[in-house]
Symmetry: C2
Subunit: 500 residues, 2 copies
């Protein structure tokens, strides 16, 4: 049995390494690669994706899993070996349904589509990417159809990102959230908006990056096992448990962009850095779902990084870095970074209106997959729905349906729900952490984040994929995913600011 | 036939991509990778090396080559298809002699040895790497012994880097070179050394990098298909014909280090960027030998970059970048960058004494492989031989036998002769270029390097590996590799400076 387990681990390590090498190629593509490198890079990434797929669906893996099944059943559910076998079987069964040739075809198409989008967006040229998106939609449907028996065609795609969720369950949750959220948005946006002029001065790049580095280091991002680099659209990636990289961008006329996106990415990265090192090289060594991953980025960005206590500690340092904040009070600054407004761009949205952006995209994904919304009609549908939800209209498609990379570099389906699930889960986990350690907020004011970080590591990060998201939520909070902690958090924070 | 050729090309492209992905992993390891990434990176590189090896030795490749042999013979020798089939056969026959398990074993050992060396060298701790080097020597012998029938055990290893050369032929060439070179070194170093104090002021990093970038761009390095990054030990690498990267380092108290190493690497890179783009993804798409590669780096660094004409054009710009050179005359500067002295470190050596460093290492490689020099005796042997050759003694092993990475990250054998072959070939090719275009030196004074670059592209770079080094030298210069053009170049240049 030991020998079979070793053989399985050897095979899984090769798959893990192929996948993480592919992630290095992607990182380089988004940070340093010169324009000339694009063609070969697309080809190389497609090759690795296909090789990995071929290795996971090797019937020998299935045979090993069968041989190990009895052994797994003899172990406690949450033992490392049982978990490894269980999660591998789930991956194997999913992977064997998809032909490697499709994986390579999809990967090559995604590289081409992404390349087109990088030009089409600045040019506000939806027509240029329309054929790519139509093909992506077609491939997304093909992908879903490798998993027959679904209730909704989006189900298999949602399940890939957020195991255990389906179109129907997300819809129900989102409907409930919308009902509670819209009155809060109304209450806040009917009042005068906070003045954030203090964030819109000129802040030299070097200072922004240095300050942000210092912050994420203090929060717990480990630079011995990671680094940060500049990119256009910040993301986190990893090449092993001990090499987890964040990326950032800087706008010299907007202090918030670099800082909060870097805290956000550091949240993702601390999750990856916190996985049990014994899982390195196995399918257990990563975050368990898109939603749980996002819960961590948004916890550190918003629940921690936009809290008053956090800034009681960091604001004097920030004022030292940028002397033009000398005459801006902490209260003014705090209100500025928590300004709530209906705005065009998801990634710039405040934590209250953010979910409305997500719901719009989620609904469009379902409609495109169902065939009730054609790609050619997406730009107009976007503007119409946006106006209904936000009372705003983007002047163009650039800041309309072209704004997010997801459909142009990924697939259509399962791409967005994780953001809002993350907001909900983040609030649930944070409430559980506060219950265990009521001293967390007081310690934060002193620049101590270790208590929270350790609690998150022990309760969430270390487990990697051992528990599914639903299992993890239950284990950590005692309940299912729910909107109440998030709504309670928003109400408490914004009632103090706006009397809602 | 067309179909078989396509199948061969498809297989070769996968091998090419695996190899070049491995090079990206190596580039990242030497530029940006955080310390934590080392373990997984070594494993990932070993896996790729083994996969590539398995693919090249696939009997199906041999079968395709056999099937295509008649077709190749029906074509002119230098047609692209005939050359592809010929070069692939050479690679295939070499590769099939080496078991993939050995390739992975060697690669994993090299990663561990390299890691140990990065710590042992600063600590001046030969004992720490001694067991690694002993193992490397053992593996190098094993490697050579996969190619039985050699006259000298180093022959197969020399042949890998410089096809067509053997221990005996290199020895004969080096003996002849030494005989001509030593009197020149004697004549120069018996005179007062040039004053290079002007290079040893403080030159801020940013200015050094900006100036060096501007220089290599003007020489012809294409930043659309390449980039430069900082590292400890500069090197050039490529991930495709259209993504060729150089690296550099900066010493703020030495103006020459960044500048000349960057020109040197740009020389390697222009060679790779100049390969016929139609060869992308095939074994033809790279430089043809270590010696020819080095001929290009050293041509651009020394024959061009340390010439008076070059600086007649660039010196005013340099003075603008660094105002403390305002009162240093061009003549003083020119003499400073061409200072000749017996010194400890190969990579810092001037173009006259450089070859003595190489010969010493070449001889030690042969002796270690023969078993006439034990690894444990290397440090003492180094000091003794160095004193005999240079009249100098390094104060430690750090600047003695630990100074070069080659034996600690590569193998023992075939690692060094290419540098001196490069000096010889560079002078031969350059003489041929001047014969074809006598206007090259005059144009250089005006900052025009295109004539030389184009000639090198058309005569050398574009061919990639189509011709072996001996074929290429014959084709371009009409003769064999020879020492005379190099000696003539040195005599002309240094007689003017030192009356030798």
């Amino acid at each position: 049995m030991e020998q079979k387990l070793q053989e399985l681990k050897q095979r899984l390590q090769e798959i893990y390494d192929l996948d993480h090498i592919g992630m290095l190629l992607g990182w380089d593509q988004s940070t340093y690669m010169p324009p000339g490198g694009a063609a070969a890079r697309g080809r190389q990434m497609a090759m690795l994706a296909q090789m990995s797929q071929e290795k996971i669906i090797d019937p020998a893996v299935g045979k090993l899993l069968d041989d190990l099944q009895k052994y797994a059943e003899s172990l406690p559910y949450d033992s490392d070996d049982a978990s490894l076998i269980r999660v591998t079987r789930r991956d194997y069964e999913r992977a064997t349904k998809v032909p490697p040739e499709f994986v390579a075809r999809l990967s090559a198409h995604q590289a081409a589509s992404y390349q087109a989008w990088t030009q089409a967006r600045p040019a506000d040229d939806f027509a240029k990417v329309r054929p790519h998106l139509e093909k992506t939609l077609e491939l997304s449907r093909e992908f879903a159809n490798y998993f027959p028996g679904y209730a909704h065609i989006a189900d298999p795609l949602i399940d890939m990102a957020d195991y255990g969720m389906k179109a129907a369950s997300v819809r129900a949750l989102f409907a409930q959230l919308r009902e509670n959220l819209v009155p809060i948005v109304q209450a806040i946006t009917s009042q005068p908006a906070a003045d954030d002029a203090c964030l819109k001065q000129t802040f030299p790049e070097e200072g922004q990056i240095a300050f942000s580095c210092q912050v994420v280091k203090r929060l717990g991002f480990d630079y011995e096992r990671g680094r940060d680099d500049k990119t256009h659209h910040p993301f986190t990636t990893s090449f092993s448990v001990n090499d987890v990289r964040i990326t950032t961008r800087v706008q010299e006329n907007d202090l918030g962009d670099c800082l909060f996106s870097m805290i956000h990415e550091a949240g993702h990265a601390m999750y990856e850095q916190g996985v049990n090192p014994a899982y390195e090289g196995t399918p257990l060594a990563s975050g368990t779902s898109a939603g749980v991953h996002e819960s961590q980025s948004r916890t550190w960005e918003n629940l921690v990084g936009r809290s008053r206590g956090f800034w009681e500690y960091f604001y004097p340092d920030l004022q030292k870095t940028f002397p033009h904040l000398k005459n801006v009070s902490l209260e003014t600054f705090y209100r500025a970074i928590n300004k709530v407004q209906r705005s065009l761009i998801r990634t710039d949205a405040d934590e209250v209106t953010y979910n409305l952006h997500v719901m719009l995209r989620f609904d469009f994904e379902l409609q495109m997959l169902e065939g009730t919304l054609a790609v050619k009609d997406l730009p107009a549908a976007w503007h119409e729905r946006f106006e209904a939800d936000f009372g705003l209209r983007a002047p163009d498609d650039k800041d309309g349906c072209l704004q997010d990379v997801h459909w142009f570099g990924g697939i259509v389906g399962g791409m967005f729900q994780g953001y809002t699930l993350g907001n909900l889960l983040g609030a649930q986990f944070y409430a559980a952490a506060l219950e265990a350690h009521p001293e967390i907020p007081a310690e934060m004011k002193q620049g101590k984040f270790d208590r929270l970080h350790t609690w998150l590591k022990e309760n969430i990060y270390t487990h990697g994929r051992k528990y599914t998201a639903p299992e993890l939520v239950k284990r950590v909070t005692g309940s299912e995913i729910a909107i109440q902690p998030y709504i309670a958090y928003l109400r408490a924070k914004y009632d103090e600011l706006y009397k809602i």
